[in-house]
């Protein structure tokens, strides 16, 4: 880990000193013929490679959608797996164009890293995974426990705040990657594994006997996860931001992967604007008129992507909850596409 991070950091330092802040990400991506997308080192449901090396997941779909909007080809992507602590440096240095790696939106990250969050792909919160045999029913019973956590995450600070706030003692053991963290938890080095709840469900699939472990009911933080882009390129910021809105908007409009070709011929005014038969919204972004059609054809709308990757269509089986559309009791909401 050390070596990788050092290389990335040195690359960052070199790139920062060599290259002027580029405001032409779209052009760079087009010239390269490929989008460079920073993802996790393997988090089922969000970004993980399958047995053939194809990356899938909710975070991956954001990149696929961006690639589809630009190239009309969702495979023109180079995925760069990053550990939690290397991710920002990779973005700063220009090694990746988009960071779509279950990253929590916070004020300090939005301001001091030279990068911006473009939206929220998944509303998450931090929770605790424990062995059922410990017979713990609430996080408030965790006094004196040993807790495994992945380093370089907001999780570490939330954990300190929560135990301090509830006057509980604990021991923290921080690992560089999620795999090492889970391994230590599984071996019994820790009583508790803490992370975002979605990640707990995903990592639980990796342990030997998932049914022996339970996610405690307490959610101790707000973790809005979203993609990030570099400062200084508003056009690129708009493209990534509106790609997510296009996926949510498509769900609001009822556009799906299946019916997209019929929808493209629809004469409903708001659908015509979306599919580009009316107006030139896509061109205003620097893309083509049919940008939304390309996106939906490649990844489906937000709801389809959610269900396929983390929802009922996946092993994770997470309920939509907060991530449902605003009109259906959740808080996913796209500004008007017009």
């Amino acid at each position: 880990m050390k070596r990788v991070s050092l290389v990335v950091t040195l690359a960052a330092a070199a790139a920062l000193s060599a290259q002027a802040a580029s405001a032409q990400t779209l052009k760079t991506v087009k010239d390269r013929g490929m989008l460079s997308c920073g993802v996790s080192q393997g988090l089922p449901g969000f970004s993980s490679p399958d047995d053939k090396g194809n990356w899938t997941g909710l975070d991956v779909d954001i990149c696929r959608a961006v690639a589809a909007a630009i190239f009309n080809d969702a495979t023109k992507i180079k995925f760069v797996p990053l550990s939690a602590k290397d991710r920002f440096t990779a973005l700063q240095s220009g090694e990746i164009d988009v960071l779509s790696r279950n990253t929590t939106w916070t004020l300090s990250r939005d301001t001091s890293l030279g990068a911006n969050f473009t939206g929220v792909t998944y509303y998450d919160g931090q929770g605790f995974l424990v062995k059922k045999s410990l017979k713990v029913n609430s996080a408030l019973e965790l006094n004196s426990a040993s807790v495994c956590v992945q380093t370089g995450t907001t999780t570490e600070q939330n954990l300190a705040d929560y135990f301090k706030g509830n006057n509980m003692k604990y021991e923290v053991i921080a690992f560089a990657t999620a795999d090492e963290t889970v391994k230590a938890y599984e071996s019994g080095r820790c009583d508790v594994f803490t992370s975002d709840v979605s990640q707990l469900y995903a990592e639980r699939l990796k342990v030997a006997n998932p049914a022996d472990h339970v996610v405690l009911p307490e959610v101790i933080s707000k973790e809005p996860l979203g993609p990030m882009v570099r400062h200084g390129d508003d056009q690129w910021f708009d493209i990534v931001k509106w790609t997510l809105f296009a996926m949510v908007g498509a769900e609001e409009l009822g556009m799906t992967q299946k019916n997209i070709d019929e929808m493209a011929k629809s004469d409903k005014p708001e659908v015509k604007r979306a599919v580009g038969t009316d107006g030139n919204l896509g061109e205003q972004l620097g893309l083509t008129k049919d940008w939304m059609v390309r996106i939906v054809r490649a990844t489906g709308n937000y709801g389809e992507s959610f269900e396929r990757n983390v929802g009922s269509g996946s092993k994770l089986g997470i309920a939509r909850g907060l991530n449902n559309l605003w009109s259906k009791g959740g808080i996913q909401y796209a500004p008007p596409i017009r």
Binding site: A12, A21, A176, R189, G232
Partner: protein, 401 residues
């Protein structure tokens, strides 16, 4: 006619010329000047460019972040630390943890290394083969793999705290580490320490006296019975007068973990064991090479003086071998220190893990933090080599060359 004595030509200018320009004279000096100027210009460009680009992308720069609160906890700290301390404190915690592993690792690596080297040179067939096997096995496996082996295969296999292996219900070994009773100082603590110190100093004085006697008059004085008597006796007397120096805080299982007592965390143990055994394999070879480099005649001469094999090694061979051993030994010490940054793989909170890891990703100030961290490792390494050079200088001086 008086001949005016010729003035010797002024030595100043040629001297200066030689000093500044080497053999090439003034033109060499100009070239050097140009080279230095170019270097300075390149470094200025790098700094200025990085600064401009950081500003353009509005990435925070500077060292102000060090005063901010860290907000996260650390599993092992030699100094009092809590999440509300600033990043400077985190830096210190990480640095001390790195130094702790390095110093203890170097200590054990040296001892194991010397023992294995002597074992390998031993006429005893079994001992020399076992030592040889140790060296070949350990030095040919990657050190990260060995760290993970000790951590995941050996220490993680220990039972959980509720079923820990206990000795007299006061020492507990589990997958949370080794927990031993903690001494708590009492009224008799200070006199006890003073008595112990006095005993040690007196023993050293006695030993030096005995040595002088040996060299001057050839009289052999047995020192150790007196030394032992003082080191045990004096503190004992202090205990009888001033009362017990410490009471022991026995660890008790409370909830998930033990409360009270002192604890050696498994991350520390795994890292120290792996680094010292790994480095010891290299040190063993260095020591062996050093001993072999001493001429056979020295050994024979020692034997013909009637010295035992151990004494020949200790008094004649090893002091001469040290001159050969020392420089590569220093390299191994530096390697061990630098390898300690592999701690990040097993969650030991060393400098790279808590400072160049967690702190970096929380603040995003890669250039500053990596700069500080590199500076620190450089400083540790330079100090280590300075100490070793001093030691080497003393050896060569004592041997007259």
């Amino acid at each position: 006619m008086a001949i005016e004595p010729r003035k010797p030509p002024s030595q100043l200018i040629p001297k200066l010329q030689r000093a500044l320009g080497g053999r090439a004279g003034w033109s060499g000096f100009v070239l050097q000047l140009l080279f230095v100027a170019a270097l300075a210009w390149i470094s200025y460009e790098i700094v200025a460019n990085a600064r401009a680009n950081l500003q353009a992308q509005r990435i925070t720069a500077g060292f102000g972040f060090l005063a901010n609160n860290a907000g996260f906890d650390v599993s092992q700290s030699l100094i009092p630390y809590s999440g509300s301390d600033p990043y400077t404190r985190v830096f210190l915690v990480g640095l001390l943890n790195t130094l702790l592993v390095s110093v203890i690792g170097i200590f054990f690596a040296t001892i194991i290394g010397f023992l294995v080297a002597l074992g390998r040179l031993s006429p005893n067939w079994l001992l020399s083969r076992i030592s040889g096997g140790y060296v070949e096995l350990i030095r040919n496996l990657p050190v990260l793999f060995q760290i993970l082996f000790w951590y995941l295969a050996v220490l993680a296999a220990l039972p959980n705290p509720r079923q820990s292996i206990s000795i007299f219900d006061s020492i507990f070994l589990s997958n949370r580490g080794l927990i031993v009773p903690k001494p708590v100082g009492q009224a008799g603590f200070e006199p006890f320490v003073v008595a112990l110190l006095v005993a040690i100093v007196a023993s050293i004085v006695l030993w030096r006296y005995a040595r002088r006697q040996l060299f001057q008059s050839g009289k052999v004085i047995k020192v150790w019975p007196y030394a032992l008597g003082m080191i045990i006796g004096l503190p004992l007397i202090s205990m009888l007068i001033f009362g017990t120096p410490v009471t022991w805080e026995v660890p008790v299982l409370k909830g998930f973990n033990f409360a009270g007592g002192s604890r050696l965390i498994p991350e520390f143990v795994a890292l120290t064991v792996a680094l010292s055994t790994y480095t010891a394999a290299f040190i063993a070879e260095i020591v062996r090479a050093g001993i072999i480099s001493v001429h056979k005649g020295q050994m024979e001469a020692g034997s013909s003086l009637g010295l035992q094999r151990g004494s020949v090694l200790r008094l004649i061979v090893i002091p001469q071998a040290m001159r050969v051993i020392l420089p590569p030994l220093t390299n191994q010490y530096l390697n061990l220190t630098k390898n300690s940054s592999l701690a990040v793989a097993i969650g030991y909170p060393d400098l790279v893990s808590v400072f160049a890891g967690t702190t970096l990703s929380q603040t995003g100030q890669a250039i500053e933090i990596i700069g500080i961290t590199m500076g620190v490792y450089l400083l540790i390494s330079l100090v280590t080599s300075a100490i070793m050079s001093f030691y080497g200088w003393r050896i060569s001086r004592s041997m007259g060359g």
